[in-house]
Subunit: 278 residues, 2 copies
């Protein structure tokens, strides 16, 4: 059972117990303040947002699913340098792939951002595509889905990857379809699931370990989603703190419909921790 935090003493004890704090952003640090809410963002985009909010953070302290995807493609998939990634996603993914030296196509290419009819007869597939990567894409359309489907069906050994599996994401005005929805038509057409790289998968934690020295026993993951953030912490052997400012509601963690994913700690909002400094 999760420990409910409410007193200053409890918050102080928590801060004493853990040296390294990992924070999910959307639903924890902010809600729907992005220009394109829920987009899979690059570390530079997050850094700009932190700056605007007056939060001190270095790019090396920021880890996103777009970054983790680029690292996964180069170090786990080990995509050959002459191969390319077809992107069903936005500029944040492209930026991280570019930084990692991975060639890509699709994405924000104007030729693929169209609602015009698509015919395989008018198109020449790129013979070098070796992976399809799906992330949140508010410009998703039938041309992109058709090209991605064609590569996954016909390109030899083409990897099917997703930045993360979020089914929805919270905006200031309500829920919208999440990044996991973008690859759903391809799942359905192919009858198989992508490898998901973001939370709760361990790839992101591997990326963090590669850059920072920390003791998992004194590290805590703070998040608003049980099936991604909290599972991510648990899978990595970290402590977990659930906040209720995002996706998860009280009824998801108590009562007859409570999830089987139980965080170590629960508090209403990350803002509660400020009480120890007042």
């Amino acid at each position: 059972m999760a420990a409910r935090l409410s007193s200053i003493e409890e918050y102080k004890a928590l801060v004493d117990k853990y040296d390294t704090w990992l924070f999910d952003c959307d639903g924890v640090l902010w809600n729907g303040t992005t220009l394109v809410p829920g987009a899979t963002e690059s570390r530079k985009m997050y850094k700009t947002k932190f700056d605007k909010l007056g939060v001190e953070a270095h790019v090396d302290e920021i880890f996103g699913s777009a970054f983790a995807s680029a690292v996964y493609i180069s170090s786990v998939v080990k995509l050959p340098k002459d191969k390319k990634v077809y992107v069903v996603g936005m500029s944040g993914i492209e930026e991280e792939l570019r930084e990692e030296g991975i060639a890509f196509l699709g994405g924000t290419d104007p030729a693929d951002n169209t609602l015009e009819p698509f015919s395989l007869g008018d198109w020449t597939p790129d013979p070098d595509v070796g992976a399809v990567l799906c992330g949140l894409d508010t410009s998703v359309n039938y041309t992109k889905l058709s090209k991605a489907f064609h590569y996954l069906l016909h390109a030899p050994g083409c990897h099917f990857l997703a930045t993360n599996e979020d089914s929805t994401y919270p905006t200031a005005h309500g829920l919208l379809p999440g990044a996991g929805c973008i690859g759903a038509p391809l799942r359905y057409a192919l009858g198989r699931d992508p490898v998901s790289i973001g939370k709760p998968a361990g790839t992101m934690l591997e990326c963090i370990k590669a850059k920072h020295d920390f003791d998992p026993a004194r590290t805590i993951m703070v998040g608003d989603r049980l099936n991604t953030d909290i599972e991510f912490g648990k899978n990595g052997g970290l402590a977990t703190l659930l906040v209720l400012t995002g996706i998860t509601k009280e009824t998801d963690i108590s009562g007859p419909n409570a999830s089987t994913t139980v965080p170590d700690y629960v508090t209403q909002s990350i803002a509660d921790l400020r009480t120890i400094f007042s």
Copy 2:
């Protein structure tokens, strides 16, 4: 085990045995000859196509999943007359809804056919939406998906419907994502499946029965897909004939990976039946 037809005698016996013949179109009568291939078409659109191909057919002999969906909404769902359907689909669906006197929005409305960013804050939902209907939509986009998701999440008792569940469809140049893929992001975001109205569901057969008097024991369904056409015939107590000019390949019906759906008869192409007239 399916009977393989090959001799003139076998084809003649088949034609003698069945008085009523139901034909799937895409993959059976034609392949990818449509302007927008695979679109969920209205009966009038099919009629125009039959005329072009020189095939005699009356509109009353044509049944499509768009028509069946409209009939389903008015006679099974019994959507109140002051309620509307939000359409993630194209003009064929709109035409059938209009003929059935069902109010709708979305669909081909230019306001919903855009790749511009979508925010719930800039949009007023229509309080009269009582159903979301998804069909093949080559203009599918994030705005349509977001609005449909919002209605399904918040409109009281909102029905989640799909014209059919085809995962892919065959064009002259290869496979593209099918109608079933269009609602897949909504399935994923909601964690629930739509009611699918087209084959293999029985709604279309009920529509046919309402217009034509036929003896199921002397009726045969001809199709190219095991999980839709052949299952549709079997569910309706009809005989079934599989042709191999569309989705299903020889390896799907014989050998170690053969499907458990077994048609009564198999022949290479519907053209084989012409041999009895030569």
